[in-house]
């Protein structure tokens, strides 16, 4: 995402939304920008926890006012009726405030499901997305609007896609109803959900190879993987074994997948760390 970008994130996978929002926040903080997250379905405290889980610094930036996580209730719904004009004004004021405070820019990300509430007139969402474009022209504002596919109708989603110059999504290596292999951004690596066996080892190897190329330390998130067969486990362990000194692969998984990885890996591989997470599935 470059400064001045206005992007749409349409997601079905909750993990993917959190992953991309975290990367957006991390990158903005890294650039010295002010970052505001407007959250709706996830309470602010919980979202801060999710950012921290993904290795995004939160405490120091929040303490000095560089990072703010606010619920829609306390923001644009506080005044009662929501109008597009009111929201565009509010954002414009935030951009000015960030400039006066000395920040090179403002990053905003918002969960747009506030628009589904009765008090928010749905057509105002469309006017908002059309009108807000003028705030992006001088590069001081960068934004991602999040649309949960489960909540929005196809017409609104199609409009949202057209209203945004850009779209963001995780790179997907393979997807069917029972398996998803995609890139993870925070922390960087790959994420696999569902069940993975020998039939998709090629796509898994492709995903691992890209991470080995791009990431210093590789994170393999298997927390939502219910089953991993020996052939796929072998691909993971072989990838870890190929890492040069100083680089480490960290796998997060449940107990069943841990058992298979341990059987395949045998003696300790210094470059492979496995963290067993219970109850994430």
């Amino acid at each position: 995402m470059g400064s001045g970008d206005h992007a749409c994130l349409t997601f079905s996978d909750a993990e993917e939304r959190l992953d991309i929002v975290s990367a957006f926040v991390r990158d903005g903080l890294g650039l010295g920008q002010k970052v505001i997250c407007f959250t709706e379905s996830i309470p602010p405290g919980q979202l801060v926890g999710e950012l921290a889980d993904r290795e995004v610094p939160t405490r120091t930036p929040a303490a000095r006012g560089q990072l703010a996580v606010r619920s829609s209730d306390e923001s644009w719904l506080a005044g009662g009726t929501v109008t597009a004009a009111g929201m565009v004004d509010m954002l414009g004021r935030e951009v000015e405030l960030a400039s006066r405070e000395g920040y090179p820019g403002l990053r905003v990300t918002a969960d747009m499901c506030w628009a589904l509430r009765p008090v928010a007139a749905a057509e105002q969402l469309m006017v908002f997305e059309a009108e807000v474009g003028k705030l992006f022209s001088d590069g001081r504002l960068t934004a991602i609007c999040q649309y949960d596919r489960h909540n929005f109708d196809p017409v609104t989603l199609a409009f949202a896609a057209r209203a945004h110059p850009r779209a963001v999504a995780a790179a997907v290596y393979y997807e069917d109803p029972l398996l998803r292999i995609c890139r993870q951004y925070t922390p960087p690596g790959i994420r696999v959900a569902g069940e993975l066996d020998y039939r998709r080892v090629e796509e898994l190897t492709q995903a691992l190879a890209e991470s080995l190329r791009l990431d210093h330390h590789v994170h393999v998130n298997l927390a939502q993987l219910r089953y991993l067969d020996v052939a796929a486990a072998t691909a993971v362990v072989q990838a870890a074994a190929s890492l040069p000194d100083g680089r480490v692969m960290t796998v997060v998984c449940g107990p069943a997948v841990d058992r298979t990885l341990t059987l395949v890996c045998g003696s300790e591989l210094a470059r492979l760390r496995v963290r067993v997470a219970h109850g994430r599935q």
Binding site: L178, E195, D197, Y198, R199, Y227, D229, V230, A231, T234, V237, Q238, A241, P255, A256, R259, T260, L263, V264, G266
Partner: protein
């Protein structure tokens, strides 16, 4: 395998699960094994072990045993038995198969070795007209 079918009728109790499979029905097979293992009294760890065994034996039947097979699952006292049969070309060295861990760099050959680590016992019957692998899991361990 007519002879062993006759022996089977007297020896093996009614199977809790007796399911054909091919590459397109692996998900259904694994789901059935997981469900039946629990119904037969397997705890979470034994269920995981049984799924590892069933998954690897079924994959071997598909990849090396002609593309399809049959899986039977039954309980005999304190043990669960999983038997996977196929009509493939058979194993060259059934006694030696899966006895040694392949080196990490080797692409395959690890499935049967893992099954031997997880199961209490593995019995292989094989010939030019097919193969039957039976693995036994203890219910009372751990």
């Amino acid at each position: 395998m007519a002879g062993s079918d006759q022996r089977e009728a007297g020896r093996i109790p009614l199977a809790a699960l007796d399911q054909p499979f091919d590459e397109d029905s692996l998900y259904q097979l694994r789901a059935a094994v997981a469900a039946h293992a629990e119904a037969l009294g397997a705890g979470p760890r034994q269920g995981d072990d049984l799924l590892i065994i069933a998954g690897e034996l079924a994959s071997n039947a598909i990849r090396h045993g002609g593309g399809r097979g049959q899986l039977r699952l039954w309980r005999n006292g304190d043990t669960l038995h999983c038997r996977v049969t196929d009509r493939g070309p058979g194993l060259a060295d059934p006694d030696g198969a899966g006895r040694h861990r392949p080196p990490l760099a080797a692409a395959g050959g690890r499935g049967l070795w893992v099954v031997r680590q997880v199961a209490r016992a593995v019995e292989i019957e094989t010939g030019p007209r097919g193969t039957a692998v039976t693995a036994v899991v203890d219910l009372n361990r751990r």
